[in-house]
Symmetry: D2
Subunit: 142 residues, 4 copies
């Protein structure tokens, strides 16, 4: 099994269980070892008290891209920490794109960067997440 | 009008517009100048591909507590950056409590800390947000 | 041996090897399990191109307080990540005080907060560090 | 005056005042608008209580690269916040290279990324800094 096959299989198994991504309408547009590209349309229920997209949903999209990239090796990982810088606001009906790439990956921990952009290419946010390996795999390997 | 009256009025006006907080079932349990306490029950649609609460929703709860605390002076503020450390996982049906307090508040920027705990007191996450003032108020002051 | 005795012994052994803290004139004013209070006078060579204390030295003081607090259990730890928010500038000859406290401590990782204040009580910076255990102890325990 | 000329002139004026960079032996190897490459040899006085380079000095090098990149437009800026992830340890006599690049730059705030590597190309740390404009320029423009 190639690393790319592995990443695709994890994506399928992970997404099937991923109620949050499904409920938010997040799509996994591309996957590769240590990389993932996702998209999400900002829905009306994601607006906050300023009537712009709640930063929590921008974070959630980025965090989901992070999760698909760091889990792509079939070793379960979770975020131990994450940080986000918000660059520009997003509005309802904007489509947001999150692209995750691997900065570093060790036995127990990894660091991943995610850029979130809008349909017109405007940078919306940058996210950096730290992964920690936990027990378990998505599928058994012989 | 006292600072406490101001904070309560902002909370009411902000929450009425806050589709995200409403849709997530977030409750504003307490408010004071620079402080806010919120709670949220983890719902099934908040579970991720590991079947635990997606970190994005823990972040969103914390970010919402941050927003109510930093906006409590009736000067509109948004998050320019935020960081979260995840301490323990939350499960579906857990009730999460987020308590925001002010670390520092300047003319343009502020720093706020949020602790997220579970119904049994276990610390779930710590969040630190940076606020930036934007134009506008929630209500006019004479 | 009490936890307090352990913390004090680690402090002594660690400081004896700590060329950086010594060279910067950092003093370990107090130590306890998971806690440390340090101080440092801002020297002329710590000024940056704006003629104020270089943020790197404020970070270094905070990071040192973090190190003494997370190593106080005689299990060697290093920082895997840290973040700092700068609140106010420090000038040459200011005395800075860094107080570290434990937010969370697990088997492998911990989270520690450090507040840096000035001689007049003004908050200068807040720091949050993540510790990771590495192999080794400062002294053998039977 | 071109943007590149401006960046070089700021570098010269800033470095002449930058006691910290000079005292640490930091060299400004390259400068461009929004970008800077620096290097520093890890000296014996930079070792911490584990006998490896104190993270504070790795941060200081990265923060200095950040400072030269964000000030390169001749508008004075300081760091309002910064975060660092430590990937690998550095030893005394290692030479560290810090390369800063601009993620985003607005009227008041910017975001800059810095990668710190070792002489053999090993990634040592990644740093992300937030700049805030303050009053003043390094040289007068007519």
């Amino acid at each position: 099994m190639t690393a790319q096959d592995c990443a695709e299989r994890v994506r399928d198994l992970m997404y099937a269980e991923d109620s949050a991504a499904q409920a938010l309408g997040i799509r996994i547009d591309a996957i590769a070892p240590g990389e993932a590209s996702l998209s999400m349309r900002v829905q009306a229920h994601m607006a906050n008290g300023h009537r712009i997209c709640h930063g929590g949903f921008i974070f959630t999209l980025a965090d989901t891209a992070f999760a698909y990239s760091c889990n792509s090796y079939n070793q379960r990982c979770v975020a131990s920490a994450a940080a986000i810088d918000f660059i520009a606001a997003a509005q309802v009906d904007d489509v947001l794109y999150a692209t995750a790439s691997e900065v570093s990956r060790g036995r127990r921990n990894g660091v991943y960067d995610v850029r979130v952009t809008r349909q017109d290419g405007q940078l919306i946010a940058v996210f950096r997440g730290r992964s920690a390996s936990i027990k378990g795999q998505f599928f058994e390997t012989e």
